[in-house]
Amino acid sequence: MSAIAAVNDLVIRFANVNGTGSASANGLFAKACFRMGIPVTPKNVFPSNIQGLPTWYEVRVSEKGYLGRREGIDFIVCMNGQSLADDIASVRSGGYVLYDNSKPLDLRLERSDVNFIGIPLAAICRDEYPDLRRRQLMKNVIYIGALAALLDIEFEVLKDLIGDQFRGKDKLISPNIHALEIGYRYASEHFSCPLAVRLERRDLVGDKIMLEGNAALGIGSVYAGATVVGWYPITPSTSVVDAFEKYANRLRIDAGSGEKKFAIAQAEDELAAMGIVIGASWNGARAFTATSGPGVSLMSEFLGLAYFAEVPVVLFNIQRAGPSTGMPTRTQQSDIFSCAYASHGDTKQVLLFPEDPRECFDMAAESFDLAERLQTPVIVMSDLDLGMNEFLCDPLVWDDERQYDRGKVFSQQQLEEMSEKFGRYKDIDGDGIAYRTYPGTHPDKGAFFTRGTSRDPYAAYTEKSEVYIDNMERLLRKWETAKSLVPEPQLYQQSNTSKTGLLFFGTSTASCLEARDQLVEEGTAIDCLRVCAFPFNQTIEQFIAGHDQVFVVEQNRDGQLRKLLVGECDINPKKLISVPLYDGMPITARQVVDHVNAKTRSALVTPLHKQPA
């Protein structure tokens, strides 16, 4: 029988029942690879459920450092009877199936082209642990121990990880290490270890870290000086606020009094969550909320108010598969339209697209500066993949000299020295951004009435067409200013090398860069550009102009970013070819390559019958 042989290049999938404590054990595996210096990418594939349904944890190990998902499962750990048949069928020919052979495997599930590794986990646990819950939990640790022998994971690394995981609950350490040893010993005694597919220590991760994007957004918001949070729970955004609270409780407690230098309100719905952010920002605090697609729909009314009344807002949108409730635990980039033009009337909202947790941290901090500088909502467009999976990325960095950019705000003294009348919506600097004041600043000057109705430069209500138009045109000037302030797109080549371009954003990045390498190997050169923000600036327009055709990879059905590019940059739609990868799973390089090849090859095919002239 064939057996896949590879060092530091595999995809392993753990099939579990959710609510059985498998997540922390499976996390040990990914973290062990990382601590052995090997690049690794774990992905949770979980149901919208708390207990009892199938859940998978998929880990790609890649010595080449490719961090996107890869199709083809080399190794599966089958711990769920419900999904067993599908799980066994999902493995590549020559792959490995670790299963519990306490009871014999149903003959119909056997395959002759894969390698079965039977370990009587239930029987071992029955003998070892009288307590039922412990039996269930330790089973997970035992199979990790077995994998250590089978795949050659350094046992010391696992022991250290157990030590870290249970720090403070020290009496749990030795039973867990004992469980690892049981698995390790069983595998060593019954199989020829290690297998042909295995790990080997490298020095490829440097000072990198592994964390979830949502944690990075929460930490970034602490560093950015956010003090007010209004929020409403929704998967997959909830852990953003959890992280903010966790780190604020650690880092934002007044040493003397024990009082909090932050305030969090769990609101009654997403409308109120956004209202809280707007009220706090209007009153001079840095405030944010986090949500997902359905929440964005509810917040749209308020986003229009913030756009028109020019109140800073920071919104973290952790996108999930829509429309409607959609697939709440699957990933997508399908809120581009609903965010870019959120709310009725002519509105445009600033969007940022982070690619990894490090950038979530950076963009969280930047979003507060931008929102206050531009006095408008800034929406950071993360997604479930980035938000709820650990990513390998550069460590978080903060410049201790950095000052927050609080934007154009008149102080008490500036108002005192002012001889002319304060005009809240007067474009003094010509960049479309007017000066605001915080409530309560000065006894006589600077008060104004904030409203969602049209107003003149002095904030007085007006229905005069020309005054209304002036204000709307000023908002467009501000939009032009925004183009020079938002993050630049990233180019991946010094100069153009091809007539074909590949344009992508956010969590498509890793797989698109891997796809580029594959295309180059196949003899097709392709230039890459990553969009980091909306409004689009000139670099993007130049990139598109410099190529005959540009593939736009995005995780939605309708090519939303492509249409936004066509409309906003006035581009011939035929030039932009949509690559819609929207099945809810993190995308793979193969999917991108196949799309590009299908389109470029079909263009080369000569039709059998000539078209009539």
Binding site: A272, I278, A285, W398, A447
Partner: protein, 350 residues
């Protein structure tokens, strides 16, 4: 209707203890209909803030949408105002209050804004016990869209259209009591003697104060068949009694009948004196307040005055244990943990 505001003030009018004259508390020219109850409410707010010696610019006025929500433009012109979106004033006020606990928050809303589109936000804002005054100008109809019934229109009441409302009315005071407001009162725009001290007491109350002010709509709901007309309210009003708010260390000068006085001491030492009309009401007892509201409803009268206050009220910031000063005033040195702490965070992710 006037189109210019008179700037003349009687020279004998004295400034308040802060040195502000009453004009400092006034706002822009009202664009409401002549005789609108809301203008009287605005005048009462001006009077209360003037008398309570509140610095005008330290008030933040927040409203939703509708005739009532337009009124913050007509009083306290030196204060910042925020005319937000329909039914969402409570959340905007929540955020503003979270950002700075050191201002006076005045939320102004209407019956459409609070009892219909914003009923959810109204219910929930009571629970948070924000230190603010939430005032509803309740006219039982939608004025700006020309007179439709609202959710506070009583069963059988008919507006100018002449069709009796068949649907149950929402009692905002009963709702506020149920949802956790720590100060609840009802008043009538035509009763300045009662309304001004109620507003003063509400502004002083260290928590969420709710006042439902019956404020007739002269254009659409001031008919003989309406239960929210001037005449009907005047004819059917019952009061819990007059109140006085006495700042700490000031002597009580008004003389009332002995035994009829009920005192509630606030945290700052000042005392609210209630000179009781409804002897069965205990204003520190929520159940008693609910019962009094129901009793008068059944009798066909509208009970006005202070209904409930919790002298032990702990506001939102006390409940969450936030720092004493405004959060918005904290700077980088107070908020940003710096690279050293980040190094430790990075290490925890390896």
């Amino acid at each position: 209707m006037s189109y210019a505001k008179s700037t003349f003030r009687h020279p004998a009018l004295q400034p308040n203890a802060l040195g502000y004259d009453k004009r400092a508390y006034e706002g822009g020219l009202s664009t409401l209909c002549a005789g609108c109850g809301h203008d009287s409410v605005g005048a009462a707010i001006v009077q209360a803030c003037f008398e309570a010696n509140i610095e005008p610019h330290k008030v933040a006025k927040i409203s939703g949408i509708g005739c009532s929500s337009k009124t913050p433009a007509y009083f306290l012109g030196k204060s910042h105002g925020f005319n937000s979106v329909h039914g969402r004033m409570p959340s905007v006020a929540t955020g503003a209050n979270m950002a700075s606990r050191d201002m006076v928050y005045l939320g102004v809303s209407g019956d459409g804004d609070s009892a219909s589109i914003g009923f959810g936000q109204f219910a929930h804002v009571n629970r948070r016990n924000l230190n603010m005054l939430y005032l509803v100008e309740n006219n039982g109809c939608y004025g700006l869209t020309k007179g439709q019934d609202s959710a506070t229109t009583d069963v059988g009441s008919a507006s100018k259209k002449g069709v009796a409302n068949p649907f149950t009315a929402i009692d905002l005071c009963a709702t506020a009591l149920e949802m956790g407001a720590t100060f609840v009162a009802r008043s009538f725009s035509g009763d300045k003697e009662q309304l001004v001290p109620l507003i003063t007491a509400a502004l002083r109350h260290p928590g969420f104060a709710f006042i439902d002010v019956l404020s007739p709509c002269v254009t659409f709901n001031n008919t003989g068949t309406s239960t929210k007309s001037y005449d009907y309210v005047r004819d059917h009003v019952a009061t819990t009694g007059a109140i006085d708010v006495i700042p700490m260390q000031e002597e009580i000068t008004t003389d009332y009948q002995p035994g009829s006085r009920h005192e509630v001491t606030l945290h700052d030492g000042s005392v609210v004196h209630l000179y009781k009309g409804d002897v069965e009401l205990d204003v520190t007892d929520k159940e008693s307040a609910q019962a009094a509201i129901r009793r008068h409803q059944q009798q066909g009268s509208v009970l006005t005055g202070l209904l409930y206050m919790d002298p032990q009220s702990r506001d939102f910031h006390q409940m969450i244990n936030s720092v004493k000063g405004p959060l918005r005033d904290l700077d980088e040195s107070a908020l940003c943990p710096g690279q050293k702490a980040l190094d430790a965070i990075n290490a925890s992710f390896r």
